[in-house]
């Protein structure tokens, strides 16, 4: 079991670069600050939780700890994943609890120049703007930086 107890700032300590774990959800390239990520998991057995909010895919066992899985597609109000598609999880910690964000694919860790960073365009759809801190302009692609703590801030609802 990892006993990593680092305080996790929103981005890497270095002001000039941000290190992001890139992932794909519904064909959109996204990134989360590498320090917010605790684990990357492949396909997992997920136990459904009846009566839970729709964003909650269920819970899974990560080395003896119970992790609540949140379906990122549902959280971002995207259509559900096609049936049978293998999904990966990005595990993050919030308030002492572990959460797994279900994504379509986790690709690589990128170190990005802060100069490429821009704030969210005003017109960005609300469901995305709510969870995004900004955009990185990559060659040929745009990368949306996701705010993990806001994605996990579900408990206040209901």
């Amino acid at each position: 079991m990892s006993t990593d107890t680092l305080d996790r700032p929103e981005a890497a300590a270095n002001e000039d670069t941000q290190i992001l774990v890139t992932l794909t959800v519904a064909d959109q390239l996204c990134g989360v600050p590498v320090l917010a990520v605790r684990d990357i998991l492949g396909e997992q057995v997920i136990t459904r939780i009846p009566l839970a909010p729709p964003e909650i895919a269920g819970s899974l066992n990560l080395r003896g700890r119970i992790v609540t899985a949140i379906d990122l597609r549902r959280r971002l109000r995207l259509p559900p994943a096609p049936p049978g598609q293998a999904r990966m999880s990005v595990v993050a910690e919030q308030g002492g609890e572990l959460y797994a964000l279900l994504v379509d694919q986790v690709s690589e860790v990128l170190s990005l120049d802060a100069a490429l960073f821009e704030r969210n365009p005003q017109t960005l759809e609300k469901s995305w703007a709510e969870f995004s801190t900004g955009i990185f302009r990559l060659d040929g692609r745009l990368l949306v930086v996701l705010d993990v703590s806001r994605l996990l801030a579900l408990s206040g609802e209901e």
Partner: protein, 853 residues
């Protein structure tokens, strides 16, 4: 060294370290109420503990320090550096004394008068004075100097002994985090072991088999050991209390007896640690404020010795701790005026509050009704700390107090972290765990939409009364809930497939949970659910099974609440209130049907043994009255409107039974089963109906079961029809072991204007008495198992709050000889079972005599 003292030293050293930090914070931010309260509590705890350990010097210093801190907390003093220095000096003195204690086991000699005088001088200055008189405050400083000078010396003196004292102890303190991590690691180890065993099974004669077996054993032992480190009997938290109570009774000149029940109840050590202090506070409060002096008790007609009872038990996945006393109860008036004086509520708000709500003010910070501040308690730290600490671990605290009878605090702590045995079930392709504690039995049943005709013994069939599933279980109808439907699992219950019914007990109620499959039982470690899921009350936690899968733990209480079974019992304040669920004002499951010209008639579901649909041609005539052959016997049939509807091929019946007597009531149609309050608002004028009540939002006639039973069996009660009229709400306790008679008597007496609480045994009745419940009269059966009515009457008459109540016996043998024995035992009157008119008349006469006497 005494165990108590060793514990005290370890705790105090920890508190002192915290205090140093907190005081420095306070100096920087003198307005921080939270820091101040924290400091105050720490000092208060030190003072409280050394009070009963017999450490007078330490207690005096702490008391003086607390006085100053109290003023700071109340804002009548402002935390200036000089005041903080004084408090620091007091704390240094405490440290020095504690260090001495650690070395020698006794308080070192020393003179604290100067320090105490300085502290008291500071405390004596109220805020307005302190502002203008900065100089006098300064002039007090020289007085405080001697301890200040001593300051550089003390820290050195403290650290050395503080380090050696705990080292001498046989135990070490380990943070719960370390144990938690250990537990997680062991869980992982178990999972890995299971996987290895799985692999080994597929290979014959593997060289790994033997070492693997050993690994498996060691893993099991290790798991058990780690679990053991976390579980402790609650008695461990109680072992200081007898001493505390003894000293308390000594100091206060009271006679107190402490009874501790359920000391072996095991509980997670983390939880145990956290409830230790609140418990001590509560017991101290009970002894100090709750119980009266022997003189007062004698004047109130109570035995001189007051009782404090501690009771711990598991209930529905929780641990319940009750602290009760038979003292004077909470003075609602004083709490009300205090709340008003402290501006906690306005007069108008208070006027709208029930006594219970007003009593809850004692849980507010800084609230104390004790007129004088004693060394024992009375600073109003107690109850708000208690509440805060209990809520910190997700528990709740309730209180119930009756003036003159005593007070009972009920603490409910969730079983989080605790290990329970659970039944693993499957519904809608998902597996769930049900805590074994609440499971009574398992019944295999057929999900039959189509009733199996003539189905006798063998399979139970789940039947439906207008979509409400019920199961016939040993002559009773058991309300059922389908887990698949309740949890919206989507998969439709496959009609006609086999199902299992988990019969669960929730408080006083039984309920069946329909599941698809039942696996075995497993020991599970309850883990709290993620905060996101806390609102789903159907789950009490989740856990990881041996095969590594995550599984949700069902909370039978939550399910009962969600479905309305035993509604109203969620407050579960105390035993008495659980028993109270039979009170006529509480909700009752009512079977609604249609018969004759009356549109809706209701009958308590508990009275109905069975529902039947018999073919018309099975109804025969015997001496002109309709009967049917039922289970090898002739069952008399009664039609409510007197006429038998000949047109329909089937006749719905409500079957009532008691002992070997049965009867069938012919009705037109069964409508529904609803949970509602049974308040009969209009007493009936028609024979056969008790009156009219609003059930499920509609006026419904309530069946007078007794009348119809008598129609079928004239000698059923050897009685005559009732005649009701209104009477002031007198509270009557009914003691009868026969569920049937209770169900019958409660509505009858209710209709006659009495409020009725029914219990099933004399022991239960006496528990109510000891819990302080008040009644105006008692009606008791004579023949009862364990303690019979005569014995019960003698106990009631022997003393206690009920000694003077009218006591009416109810028996099937109402002859002269029995009546004489009854009177000798202390019964006021003797009534044949069940002459309602006589019973009602007897109750009225006895109550009238009471009033005139």
């Amino acid at each position: 060294m005494d165990d108590l003292l060793a514990d005290f030293l370890t705790e105090t050293n920890e508190s002192l370290t915290e205090l140093d930090v907190a005081l420095v914070t306070l100096e920087r931010t003198p307005d921080d109420a939270e820091t101040l309260s924290g400091i105050f509590r720490l000092v208060h705890t030190i003072k409280g503990t050394c009070g009963f350990l017999g450490l007078p010097r330490l207690e005096r210093v702490a008391h003086a320090g607390e006085n100053v801190l109290g003023k700071l907390r109340d804002r009548s003093l402002i935390a200036t550096p000089s005041i903080v220095s004084e408090v620091l000096a007091a704390i240094d003195r405490i440290k020095a004394i504690v260090a001495g204690l650690g070395e020698t086991g006794a308080e070192p000699a020393g003179d604290d008068t100067a320090l105490i005088a300085a502290l008291n001088a500071t405390a004596a200055h109220e805020a307005p004075v302190a502002r203008n008189a900065a100089a006098p405050a300064q002039s007090a400083a020289p007085l405080a100097e001697p301890p200040l000078e001593a300051e550089p010396a003390t820290p050195a003196a403290v650290t050395a002994p503080a380090a050696t004292a705990p080292a001498a102890a046989q135990t070490i303190r380990v943070t719960v985090d370390v144990l938690e991590d250990l537990m997680t690691l062991v869980s992982e180890l178990v999972l890995t072991r299971n996987q290895l065993l799985q692999l080994a099974r597929t290979q014959d004669n593997s060289a790994f088999t033997v070492p693997l077996q050993r690994l498996s054993h060691i893993t099991s032992d290790l798991q058990e050991g780690v679990m053991k480190t976390r579980m402790q009997p609650i008695g461990n938290a109680w072992n200081k209390l007898p001493r505390l109570v003894r000293d308390l009774s000594h100091d206060m000149g009271k006679k107190i007896e402490l009874t501790m029940l359920g000391a072996e109840t095991e509980l997670d050590r983390q939880v145990l640690e956290l409830i230790k202090d609140p418990l001590t506070h509560m017991v101290r409060n009970s002894g100090d404020h709750g119980l009266e002096t022997p003189e007062e008790r004698r004047a109130a007609g109570k035995p001189e010795t007051g009782n404090i009872v501690l009771n711990a038990f598991h209930e529905g996945g929780h641990i319940i701790l009750e602290v009760s006393d038979d003292g004077r109860g909470l003075a609602v008036e004083r709490i009300r005026s205090k709340a008003l004086a402290n501006a906690l509520a306005t007069e108008a708000e208070l006027a709208g509050m029930t006594d219970g709500q007003i009593q809850r003010f004692i849980f507010r910070a800084g609230f104390s009704t004790a007129a004088t501040v004693s060394a024992v308690s009375g600073r109003g730290v107690g109850m708000d700390v208690v509440k805060t600490n209990i809520e910190k671990i997700g528990g709740t605290i309730e209180l119930k107090s009756t003036p003159g009878q005593g007070t009972m605090f009920t603490v409910k702590i969730p079983l989080t972290l605790a290990i329970v045995s659970a039944l693993i079930v499957e519904a809608g392709k998902e597996r769930f765990a049900i805590p074994q504690l609440s499971v009574v039995e398992l019944v295999r049943a057929q999900r039959g939409a189509g009733r199996v005709a003539g189905d006798g013994a063998g399979h139970s069939v789940i039947e439906r009364i207008n979509d409400t599933p019920v199961l016939r279980l040993r002559n009773r109808l058991l309300p059922l809930v389908s887990l698949t439907e309740l949890l919206a699992l989507g998969a439709e219950d496959n009609a006609d497939s086999a199902a299992h019914v988990v019969v669960a007990q929730v408080g006083q109620h039984m309920m069946g949970i329909i599941v698809d499959r039942v696996f075995d039982t497993e020991e599970i470690v309850v883990k709290p659910v993620a905060p996101i899921l806390r609102h789903v009350t159907m789950f009490s936690g989740n856990t990881i099974l041996g095969d590594g899968s995550v599984i949700m733990i069902l909370d039978p209480n939550g399910i009962a609440r969600a479905t309305g079974v035993g509604a109203g019992s969620e407050s579960r304040l105390m035993r008495a209130s659980l028993i109270d669920t039979q009170t006529s004002a509480d909700k009752t499951a009512m079977l609604l049907f249609r018969a004759g010209e009356t549109q809706r008639i209701g009958v308590p579901l508990g009275l109905v043994a069975r529902l039947e649909d018999i073919p018309r041609d099975k109804i025969e005539l015997s001496c002109g009255a309709p009967v049917t052959q039922y289970r090898g016997k002739l069952m008399p049939l009664i039609a409510i409107d007197g006429a038998i509807n000949q047109e329909r091929p089937k006749q719905p019946l409500l079957v009532f039974s008691e002992g070997d007597r049965i009867m069938g009531l012919m009705v037109d149609e069964i409508i529904d089963v609803v949970e509602d309050r049974l308040d009969i608002e209009l007493a009936g004028v028609r024979p056969g109906l008790l009156g009219t009540a609003v059930i499920g939002g509609q006026a419904t006639d309530v069946l007078d079961t007794g009348y119809w039973l008598m129609q079928a069996w004239e000698d059923w009660f050897r009685g005559v029809p009732r005649q009701g009229s209104a009477l002031g709400q007198r509270h009557v306790l009914l003691v009868d072991d026969s569920e049937f008679f209770r169900q019958l008597t409660v509505p009858t007496l209710g209709a006659a204007g009495f409020r009725v609480t029914a219990v099933s045994s004399a022991a239960e009745a006496l528990r109510l008495r000891d819990a302080g419940t008040k009644f105006d009269a008692i009606v008791s059966d004579i023949e009862m198992p364990e303690m019979d009515g005569l014995h019960f009457a003698r106990i009631v008459r022997a003393g206690g709050p009920w000694a003077g109540l009218p006591l009416i016996a109810m028996t099937a043998h109402a002859d002269m000889e029995n009546a004489r024995m009854g009177r000798e035992a202390g019964f006021t009157d003797y009534v044949a079972k069940f002459e309602r008119e006589a019973l009602v008349a007897s109750l009225r006469t006895s109550l009238a005599e009471m009033v005139s006497a």
